[in-house]
Symmetry: C2
Subunit: 161 residues, 2 copies
DNA sequence: AAGTGAAATGTTATACTATATCAAGACGAA
DNA sequence: TTCGTCTTGATATAGTATAACATTTCACTT
């Protein structure tokens, strides 16, 4: 499964699946998926798009959750550092991970300039040119950001024909 | 030259070279490297590190330049969109391009977590896996962001031995 | 040389993104 | 139960970026 997902999918299954996966990973690793963290992940999965921290905050706020910025940023830090969500640096926004089951991975994001959709793909498993170049220069990579901006199949002129 | 530059170099030549290159490109393409734009580029080249917009602003301010944020952001927009500088998304910071002569290129940045140095490499010219993956899904890439964070040769424990 | 339109700059205000700090509560382990 | 740690609550503030509009500069035409 290294396909990039612009297609339709069963979203209600996708939501419950993502939450279940997160719960399993957390219980397996002794992490605490607390109420607030869980709710933030839920929001990200439900909306299924890149959201700014303050977008999420607004949703929480409507629900009577304590709704100060640190609440959201803490939850996001937990989710991102444990692989349940990713930060899109180019957008200063966050998305739920498309396949949290798979543990550590090096995601690649395709961001549509027109409709804003963000799709997550997998970085190649074989040693990338980036890795190679870095290694040659003696640099040790810990994390990578790979993001591409352009037009998704639906928004490409003449596309989706 | 697709080496990643952590080595030493003749910095005064590097500065004048970068400025000359920018002037040549501008005159060739009918772009205006105005005083403020030129000064911002100069600062970036001189400092030779990733700088926040407000770092640059502080330098301008000490020189009696009009020093409101839009001044810097406009200059940066010009420099970035014409390839004289790049934005490091992960840091919300800007660096002078290491090889502005080479026109459009897809840079790769290696960011050291320890000392903050940012080195620019070239993304591979041959069709990358990213391009390939995107193409298969019908996505048309316009720009890419590739950034890696880790430890540079100098900061790697046991490195530079 | 004067007129014109487009690009660039000056300036003020404000929006958006993120973290520091410290007090209080919740939870598991001994 | 007590301890230590992780998590949350709450206030304040730091850091990044753009909107909007007036004014100037510049290249080009007449």
């Amino acid at each position: 499964m290294s396909e990039i997902g612009f297609g339709k999918h069963d979203h209600s299954a996708c939501i419950s699946g993502a939450l279940e996966a997160a719960e399993q990973v957390c219980s397996a690793q002794g992490l605490r998926l607390t109420k607030g963290r869980r709710r933030v992940l839920e929001i990200l999965v439900q909306e299924h798009r890149a959201m700014g921290a303050y977008d999420i905050l607004a949703v929480l706020s409507d629900e009577g959750f304590g709704a100060q910025p640190p609440v959201v940023y803490r939850a996001l830090e937990f989710l991102v550092s444990n692989g349940f969500a990713h930060k899109i640096e180019k957008l200063n926004a966050y998305v739920a991970c498309s396949h949290p089951q798979e543990g550590d991975h090096a995601p690649v994001f395709l961001i549509c300039k027109s409709c804003g959709i963000v799709a997550e793909g997998d970085a190649p498993k074989r040693k990338s040119d980036l890795q190679q170049q870095a290694q040659e220069s003696g640099f040790v990579i810990e994390t990578t950001v790979m993001e591409a901006e352009g037009l998704c199949p639906t928004c490409v002129p003449g596309g989706e024909a």
